[in-house]
């Protein structure tokens, strides 16, 4: 830069624009804060403050004060009591067990189908890509509660079209809402909603792969299937990791599907998954501090799990680079 002689006109222009540029520099220093400001304010108000409040609540408990038959409850400091009772509650272990079984079905199925559809849509010569994309994405637009209600009708023996067919064939109703079928039934509702969203992420990542790589592969004699397996999939691994983390966090937040199906079956208890336990504690049995303690534990667990996945993926990509 310094070696090239600056043309006089530019120098003039530079000197002329110098003062405003100084002002603009201070403005640029200020601008980023202006842009992130609203987000930070919202984050503090609606995330940080509630989190701190929940953490505070988790160290308190309601105790009866005042005389009479009933008295009134007031908040007193309770130390780690809530954490102890939450961690020793057998319902929590079975909640995580249910969550694990559900995740083992739902997460691989969602990601596998999303990857499959993305690869199919990305295959050259495939027609009606737009339509396919939209058709696969549409279930994502149906709110989880509505989807669960719709599926509930399709699961109940007297109203299910599937059971109608199997009953007509003499096999009896399909046990969608019994202990043998419940995990598959709930995973099914979630998979429909999850595939489209994850597919879009993977598909976008596929579209960003430079075409030269495919050309090189074709020149080397690879067919479409080999390109998909050996070129595309390794290149979209970052996208797969991202969707993987989303799916795992999503699975930990399983709530609306089992809650909506709950009135229809006696298999789903009020503590079937951890979030349902939190809801029960907070709103049904009026144990807000207990709910807060479990929320804090669940949040810490989710952050730790996400961190672990990110750490592994970072190590992998670093290992691949070196």
């Amino acid at each position: 830069m310094t070696l090239t002689p600056a043309p006089p006109a530019a120098v003039v222009a530079q000197t002329r624009t110098a003062p405003p540029r100084k002002r603009s520099r201070s403005r640029t220093r200020f601008a980023p804060y202006l842009f992130v400001g609203p987000a930070v304010v919202l984050f503090v108000l609606f995330m940080l403050v509630p989190i701190i409040y929940a953490a505070y609540l988790s160290f308190t408990s309601y105790k009866i004060q005042g005389g009479g038959i009933l008295g009134t409850k007031s908040l007193v400091f309770a130390g780690f009591d809530n954490y102890v009772s939450v961690l020793t509650d057998p319902a929590l272990a079975s909640g995580f067990w249910h969550l694990g079984l559900y995740s083992a079905i739902a997460v691989p199925l969602t990601l596998g189908l999303a990857l499959l559809f993305a690869l199919l849509l990305d295959t050259p010569g495939v027609r009606a890509t737009r339509f396919g994309q939209t058709a696969i994405f549409i279930p994502y637009a149906v709110p989880g509660v509505i989807a669960a209600l719709l599926w509930g009708f399709m699961y109940l023996p007297s109203t299910s079209p599937f059971s109608y067919i199997t009953k007509a064939l003499g096999w009896g109703p399909i046990p969608f809402l019994e202990s043998s079928g419940i995990f598959g039934s709930i995973a099914n509702i979630a998979v429909w909603g999850g595939v489209g969203f994850n597919m879009i992420i993977i598909y976008t990542s596929l579209r960003s792969i430079p075409a030269e790589i495919y050309e090189a592969a074709r020149i080397d004699g690879a067919n479409e299937r080999q390109i998909a397996l050996r070129v595309k999939i390794p290149l979209v691994i970052p996208a797969l990791l991202l969707t993987g983390i989303f799916s795992v966090i999503g699975a930990l937040q399983l709530y609306s599907e089992p809650t909506t199906l709950k009135p229809m079956t006696d298999i789903i208890s009020q503590t079937w998954v951890p979030l349902m336990t939190i809801y029960r504690n907070a709103f049904l049995t009026d144990d807000l501090p207990g709910a807060a303690a479990l929320s804090v534990l669940l949040a810490v667990g989710t952050v730790a799990l996400s961190g672990l996945v990110l750490w592994i993926s970072n190590r992998r990509t670093k290992g691949a680079q070196s």
């Binding site: 105790k63 009866i64 009479g68 008295g71 009134t72 109940l156 229809m264 006696d266 298999i267 049995t285």
Partner: protein
């Protein structure tokens, strides 16, 4: 033209801002504007409440009531508790009797003893005792639900099955139904029907909560309750009754198709059945609830609601005026009966009921309200504990576990007893039988 449009838009924004601030005020009594006018927020869930509120509003321009359907007894009390903790509960709210003590403990309702002292004679003692604690009144009874037996008279008659008057006969009838149509059940009594099991245990002589000198006794696992548990487990073990959840699309379909033949429940049940099985109107009848001991007509209450004034209300006197009209006045009680199809808690409403037409579900049963009065006269006063919500939650989960695992129901009852006692101890109550 353009200007007027802009002006009207500005006016609209102004009005909606006023409305919004009115709504978000929430902390009851949304400000008195000119002329001492008061607006009360009122939460309930009973059908046709809006038209009762409209009647009040037309006659009381100074005390306007703003009604919100808060969605079901259970949901609405959860919402009420949360709103109250946040300091913006409505002025007036409907509350089911079993939930009331837990709300009192949570400091939600106002002690309205002095505000309603002039209408206490409108109720009989048993009814009023459901909202009275330690001599303090925390709400006015609205409707009561003594238990009765609702059944498909056409099918039972067709199959020649006598209507059960005792629980032993209920078992025989249930078996006869299974024999007559293998796809049909006399009834479904699932674990989430907590109030039903509390009622039949109460009927058998059990007191799930009682209190003396500020010391509580919990009886969910007393001898009477455990025998009740054994009896119903026997019915389920022999596949005589179903434990599928009720009022689901499944149950409704069965009620419509005539494979679910009865519902032992509170007096409010005909309205509910009519809503989910409208095609079966005229095929249902009511009889007295089955008895444990032949000749002992005592029955428990299932459900029923009261109306409270909350501590958040800025206008408790106006709110009390409104709930007195709604529940204790002759006009209000009559509207509850005729418009809301509830069985009124006030004596005058029950008197009116005798001359009233039967519920739409069973137009042929002309003696419905006569029978209702008889049933109601034999209802047992009950004390609900301060953590009925905990009991309800634990009962449903524990009994479902027992049903699914095939373990003894009495163990589930014992487990619930332990959970309820532990919760009360943790909250700081004195308990006689830990």
């Amino acid at each position: 033209m353009k200007k007027s449009k802009i002006l009207s838009a500005v006016a609209a924004i102004g009005v909606s801002a006023v409305l919004l601030s009115g709504c978000s005020g929430g902390t009851g009594g949304t400000g008195d504007s000119a002329g001492g006018k008061v607006t009360l927020d009122f939460w309930s869930w009973a059908p046709n409440t809006q038209s009762l509120v409209d009647t009040w509003n037309a006659a009381n321009p100074d005390i306007q009531v703003n009604y919100t359907d808060a969605g079901g007894g259970k949901d609405s009390s959860a919402k009420l508790l949360t709103a109250s903790r946040a300091g913006n509960a409505p002025d007036v709210a409907a509350v089911e009797y079993p939930t009331l003590p837990s709300l009192i403990v949570a400091d939600v309702p106002l002690d309205i003893t002095d505000l309603v002292s002039d209408v206490t004679d409108k109720y009989d003692e048993g009814t009023l005792s459901q909202t009275t604690f330690d001599g303090h009144i925390f709400g006015l009874p609205q409707d009561i639900g003594p238990m009765a037996f609702f059944y498909r008279s056409d099918l039972l008659e067709q199959w020649g099955i006598p209507v059960p008057t005792t629980w032993a006969e209920f078992k025989t009838a249930a078996a006869a139904v299974r024999a007559a149509d293998p796809s049909a059940y006399l009834a479904s009594l699932p674990a989430d029907q907590w109030a039903f099991y509390a009622g039949v245990a109460n009927q058998a002589g059990s007191k799930w909560w009682s209190v003396k000198d500020n010391t509580w006794t919990v009886g969910i696992a007393d001898d009477a309750s455990l025998e009740v548990a054994d009896f119903f487990q026997g019915l389920v073990d022999e596949d005589l009754i179903s434990t599928d959840p009720i009022l689901t699309p499944e149950w409704n379909a069965k009620a419509n198709s005539g494979t679910m033949l009865s519902w032992p429940a509170g007096l409010w049940a005909p309205g509910v059945i009519e809503g989910v099985a409208p095609d079966t109107v005229g095929k249902w009848s009511m009889s007295a609830f089955p008895e444990w001991t032949p000749g002992d007509p005592a029955v428990a209450y299932q459900g029923g609601s009261s109306v409270i004034v909350t501590k958040d209300s800025d206008h408790p006197e106006e709110a009390a005026k409104f709930i007195k009209w709604l529940n204790a006045s002759e006009e209000g009680a009559n509207l509850l009966l005729t418009v809301q199809n509830a069985y009124p808690a006030a004596i005058s409403g029950q008197e009116d009921a005798k001359a009233s037409a039967p519920p739409a579900l069973m137009p042929q049963q002309t003696d419905f309200y006569e029978l209702a009065a008889k049933v109601s006269a034999n209802a047992i006063p009950v004390t609900w504990g301060p953590n009925v919500n905990v009991a309800e939650s634990a009962f449903t989960d524990e009994l479902n576990k027992a049903i699914n695992a095939g373990t003894p129901w009495r163990d589930a009852f014992t487990a619930v007893q332990k959970i309820v006692v532990a919760d009360m101890t943790k909250s700081g109550f004195e308990i006689s039988n830990k």
